[in-house]
């Protein structure tokens, strides 16, 4: 399989370039089309020739498991991105074709991503692909999944097609821009979930930003531009701080180890001076917490949700917020366990007070259903963060499960709110009442999803939040506050029932209070089709959570290991000591988690040693020509 499909993959860029080139001329004959197509092929060949070669084939061979196809993640990530470029060359006048292309690409991406499930996620990294990108800077293209990112990838590939399906129902203008933004956003999110190189991660992290701004700003509501700016500036503020921290850590790693790299594993073995570690943690955590979002940085979320079109809200709630929590697990806990441990109790307090309780109370007071769901997101994400701060096995697992559940349930809620908005162009609770009589199917689905969101046993919401609360109770990171926080978080579950059930009661039951609601049509085929998989998943994950939980066992244990070793080394570290943890992480032991992790090449070993001692070298070099000339 590898030989043949590998060959096809290698030829794909050329074919694609030829196709794109041939599509460009508008009214020319076939000769021009072929000619420009050939130019496209030459351009691709040029780029391929420029690509830094460092024995890619062997490097990848060495890190790949026998039964896994190494290109799979590349296909999953770049299919939407390449598709987005292809959309640019498709005719704007034919929205049907554009929609079909987008749906086809997203569906194909989903089907391909199912191939990830074939891996046996017992230990270590899977479907790794690694190649040199910028060897001079120690930047590699390195993608892989483990038991944590696997579910994030699947969550995105499931929800984005649903979001697209919904959007195509309600958005009729500027379809081309919509398809482009959706596909690019999808590719960016997937890329961020699978990158293991900090530079690559940052590139994908920023790649998502502009498509989302466009989704909110072009098809949003009345205040769309303000919401788009708010989203942009909040997220940007986080990411520039993260960039500063990344640059600092790369520099510190070079000081300690003598070579430049942006590699994740190398960074996680770095023990920074205490103050620097804390500052780096704050920078990373700020970037992620803004995205989550946690109080008091959550203010962009209600605006963005209310203004965004339904499809945008679904992606935002289901996947984009998860990037914040995923980033916290992977990078804050994995690389900066020490300061993460020090700050856990405080941050958990914020998560409980500002997230779970305050978010729930805000949700209760909302009159706009969509705003209500947005604030309920703040509350649910508070649970996720609480589980992560607790850093116990059940806390992290519960948090990860809650991430998936929240993606499904809140995505479904936004979808359902979009259904009623398309019919009435209002989302005010007071406008509705007794809808169950005119829209029985809609009401039934809404109630099921509400149950999942509240966390009724039997639906998926229950397991995750229960595990988080249990994990919080026994957490050592939270110390003696853990039990208080667990109890308060339980109140959050009750509050969720209060605000969700009261809105369901007001909207769906009782007499029909508004004449305009009397003849509303029930859900149509498109909407039913879109929500059906989410409802199915609610029950599947509610009844068989071990499907998900078992695969993440070893990955969660690995995160906790890293977290604990980070904590211990941070404690033992002095104020200005910079060192490496276990300086030779040799991956020969097949039982170790990272045994097949490709160790970054040592690019410029001795440079840091004498870099400081030659401030004049360039000056001398620059003047060499001159002195030679003078000497003559």
């Amino acid at each position: 399989m590898t030989g043949f499909s590998g060959g096809i993959i290698e030829a794909l860029p050329y074919l694609f370039a030829f196709f794109v080139g041939a599509m460009i001329p508008r009214r020319q004959g076939w000769a021009e089309r072929v000619g420009i197509g050939v130019v496209g092929v030459l351009a691709v060949a040029f780029v391929m020739g420029l690509w830094p070669e460092a024995a890619d084939a062997e490097a990848t061979q060495a890190v790949t498991r026998a039964d896994e196809w190494p290109q799979l993640l590349n296909v999953i990530v770049f299919l939407p991105i390449v598709g987005a470029v292809a959309i640019l060359f498709a005719p704007r006048q034919n929205p049907k074709l554009l929609r079909a292309m987008t749906m086809g690409i997203l569906a194909a991406d989903f089907l391909i991503s199912l191939g990830l499930l074939r891996a046996n996620m017992t230990t270590g990294w899977h479907f790794q692909y690694v190649t040199e990108w910028l060897p001079t800077f120690g930047i590699r293209y390195h993608v892989a999944i483990d038991g944590i990112s696997l579910w994030m990838v699947l969550l995105s590939t499931v929800t984005t097609p649903i979001a697209a399906l919904v959007s195509f129902g309600s958005i009729k203008k500027r379809t081309k821009d919509l398809c482009f933004a959706m596909l690019l956003l999808h590719g960016g999110m997937l890329g961020a979930f699978v990158s293991l190189d900090l530079f690559l991660f940052y590139v994908f992290w920023e790649l998502m930003l502009i498509p989302m701004v466009i989704l909110i700003g072009v098809w949003g509501g009345v205040e769309k531009i303000k919401a788009a700016y708010k989203f942009l500036l909040f997220t940007m503020a986080g990411s520039v701080l993260m960039l500063a921290a990344i640059l600092y850590m790369v520099w510190a790693h070079r000081q300690a180890a003598g070579f430049v790299t942006f590699d994740y594993l190398a960074m996680s073995n770095l023990v920074l001076p205490r103050t620097a570690a804390t500052l780096c943690f704050i920078a990373f955590a700020f970037a992620f917490v803004v995205k989550v979002p946690m109080w008091p940085l959550h203010t962009w979320l209600p605006d963005a949700h209310v203004q965004a079109p339904t499809g945008g809200s679904i992606i935002l709630a289901a996947v984009l917020l998860k990037l914040g929590t995923y980033g916290y697990v992977r990078f804050c806990m994995g690389m900066l366990g020490g300061p993460a441990y020090d700050r856990a109790a405080t941050l958990a307090g914020v998560a409980v007070g500002g997230g779970i309780l305050y978010g729930a109370l805000c949700a209760w007071k909302q009159t706009d259903v969509k705003r209500l769901v947005a604030y309920s997101s703040v509350a649910h994400m508070g649970f996720v963060m609480l589980g992560l701060f607790a850093a116990t096995t059940s806390g992290i697992k519960g948090a990860l499960l809650t991430m998936i559940n929240h993606g499904i349930a809140t995505g479904a809620l936004f979808l359902l709110v979009g259904v009623i908005y398309d019919r009435r162009h209002t989302r005010l609770v007071s406008e509705f009442g007794g809808l169950a009589k005119v829209m029985p199917v809609y009401a039934a689905v809404f109630v099921i999803v509400t149950m999942a969101s509240i966390g009724v046993p039997g639906t998926n919401g229950f397991v995750g939040e229960f595990m988080v609360i249990v994990g919080t109770f026994v957490s050592s990171a939270l110390g003696r506050h853990g039990s208080i926080q667990a109890v308060l978080a339980t109140f959050g579950v009750i509050l969720a029932a209060v605000y969700m059930l009261s809105v369901v009661q007001k909207m769906f039951f009782g007499p029909i209070t508004n004449k305009r609601n009397e003849n509303l049509p029930d859900m149509n085929v498109r909407e039913t089709l879109a929500v059906a998989p989410l409802v199915a998943l609610i029950f599947v994950l509610g009844l068989f959570p071990s499907l998900v939980l078992d695969t993440m066992d070893s990955s969660v244990a690995h995160v906790i290991d890293k977290y604990n070793s980070g904590r211990d080394s941070h404690r033992g570290n002095t104020i200005d000591e910079l060192r490496l943890l276990n300086p030779s992480p040799k991956g020969d032991d097949p039982t170790s988690y990272d045994h097949n992790y490709p160790v970054p090449p040592k690019s410029d070993d001795d440079e840091s040693a004498n870099a400081a001692s030659r401030p004049l070298s360039t000056a001398v070099a620059l003047g060499q020509g001159v002195s030679r000339g003078v000497a003559r």
Binding site: V47, W133, D177, L207, A237, A611, P615, A619, A621, G629
Partner: protein
């Protein structure tokens, strides 16, 4: 013969300019009904902008290709190079700059070839002037002696003064040209005064000799007085700070940029700034590269750092308040000068990396800013020029390709991955962290947040707002030359962003083995 090969980029541009001048003088004006006079002055070669622009861009691209050729041959292997030293230094450092300058000039020529006929200021002296000015810029970047430095500086500047005032009928253009001319002459005089002081204090005009003499200050048998040297350093910094448009020497920038025809603005932003940075680096590192002068306590780094912080902050904050896109781009060019100055300040410790980062940043900036001005040109046509934000409202609907290209260049200027601007900024900041200038990096990153606001604002207008009914809107023009310039710039922006490997290695080589 070696010498001819080594000087080929410079000679090509110079001879090309002369040929183009002849072609313009003896060429027939176009037959089509456009005015062949401005007032009483007869415009020779009127209406031939497209042809001459194409010629000029071909010459400049040939210059760039020759620079690459000399690079591949290796300036070290050419014996004759020593004959023109120290007046013209032909090393990898200056070859890199020659390439960037020729590229910037070629963009200007292509844009001018489309812009001038469209806006009926089709007077063809524009193109020889671009060539001569680029010639001066290359000579400036190559110069290793105060004499050739001044000659190069003036050759470059004189051409630019005329380019700004090309629209003779417009009071605004005249004001801009006069402002730039007066302040520019003043700055040139400062530089010259600094050069005279240096010569008086050290007895040298070549930078290496100055560097060696400066190094003896404080030694018991030294004849060099410290005070004139420091004064000369301050004057030189002020003069060159004017050319790179660093705050507080930036006051001329917005008016000159706004009053000039847009291709000339692109030329000032790309070529003039790049050449000034080339000579700034050479003067500081060779002439004043002595250990004490390069230290944070007693030398120029704090001055450069202050200029960098001021330029970034003032440039970005004021750019965010502009209502005209052209003026916004002018202030943004000030902010970008600030970022490049961060790289210059970073040369104190990681000299090679920091120099390489400045070189790469200037390459990236040239491509992005030329592209951005090109997209601005493409978005407007005669009588419906794109100047203010409102002019661009909803243009994504009417001309999606132009809006997409403009967005790409803005994202690159704002430093979003995967465009070239991101990598340039990253490299500069990384080398600043290597030199432990954390505060500068933090200020720079906060500034890029402000920058993101106003760059995205253009996109907001293009994609998300509708024009107010009845308000004038920009109508995109159609010109093959402008389009090809934009396509070239867009390919470079994406190529340098995704695969910067080769150009980065070249920048590092240029910084490392200058000789």
């Amino acid at each position: 013969m070696d010498l001819v090969i080594a000087l080929s980029p410079l000679l090509a541009v110079g001879f090309g300019g002369l040929m183009l001048m002849l072609a313009e003088a003896f060429g027939k004006p176009s037959e089509e009904g456009i005015s062949k006079t401005t007032g009483d002055v007869v415009d020779a070669g009127a209406g031939r902008g497209a042809e001459l622009g194409l010629g000029a861009s071909v010459v400049l691209i040939a210059g760039a290709v020759m620079a690459v050729g000399v690079w591949i041959v290796g300036p070290e292997t050419l014996e004759g190079v020593a004959d023109v030293a120290p007046y013209l230094l032909i090393d990898r450092f200056s070859l890199f700059f020659t390439f960037v300058l020729c590229l910037g000039g070629a963009f200007t020529a292509l844009l001018g070839g489309g812009y001038l006929p469209e806006h009926r200021i089709d007077r063809s002296e524009f193109f020889p002037l671009v060539l001569f000015s680029t010639f001066g810029a290359i000579a400036l970047a190559m110069s290793g002696d105060l004499l050739s430095l001044f000659v190069g500086l003036e050759t470059m500047s004189l051409g630019v003064y005329c380019l700004i005032g090309l629209r003779r009928g417009s009071a605004r253009a005249t004001e801009a040209a006069l402002k730039y001319f007066l302040l520019g002459s003043f700055a040139a005089a400062l530089t010259l005064f600094g050069a005279a002081l240096l010569y008086g204090a050290t007895g040298h005009t070549d930078l290496v000799g100055i560097g060696e003499a400066v190094a003896t200050i404080g030694q018991p048998d030294s004849t060099v007085a410290a005070m004139p040297v420091l004064l000369a350093l301050a004057l030189t910094l002020a003069g060159l700070g004017f050319k790179v448009a660093a705050v507080p020497f930036h006051q001329w920038t917005p008016d000159a940029y706004e009053g000039a025809p847009t291709p000339a603005t692109a030329f000032m932003a790309a070529v003039v700034k790049t050449a000034a940075f080339a000579i700034l680096l050479r003067v500081l590192l060779v002439g004043f590269g002595e250990e004490r002068l390069m230290s944070w306590g007693t030398g120029w780094p704090p001055v450069i750092a202050t200029l960098a912080v001021l330029s970034m902050t003032v440039g970005n904050v004021v750019a965010g308040r502009q209502e005209s896109v052209k003026r916004m781009l002018a202030y943004s060019s000030i902010a970008h000068a600030g970022v490049a100055l961060v790289g210059v300040a970073a040369t104190i410790r990681s000299t090679e990396d920091a120099t390489a980062s400045v070189l790469f940043y200037l390459l990236v900036y040239t491509v992005s800013t030329a592209g951005a001005f090109g997209a601005l040109i493409l978005c407007g046509s005669r009588g419906a020029e794109a100047v203010s934000y409102e002019d661009l409202a909803g243009i994504a609907k009417r001309h999606p390709a132009a809006a997409l290209a403009f967005s790409l260049f803005l994202l690159s200027l704002a430093g979003f991955p995967p465009t070239a601007g991101f990598f340039g900024k990253l490299y500069v900041f990384q080398s600043a962290i290597d030199s432990e200038l954390y505060v500068l990096v933090i200020i720079g990153l906060v500034n890029s947040l402000i920058g993101a606001y106003y760059y995205v604002r253009v996109m907001v207008y293009m994609y998300m707002r509708e024009p107010v009914p009845g308000a004038p809107v920009a109508k995109p023009m159609s010109s093959g030359m402008v389009t090809s310039a934009i396509v070239l710039a867009a390919l470079l922006v994406l190529g340098l962003g995704i695969l910067p490997g080769v150009s980065l290695d070249m920048a590092i080589a240029a910084a490392a083995r200058g000789g």
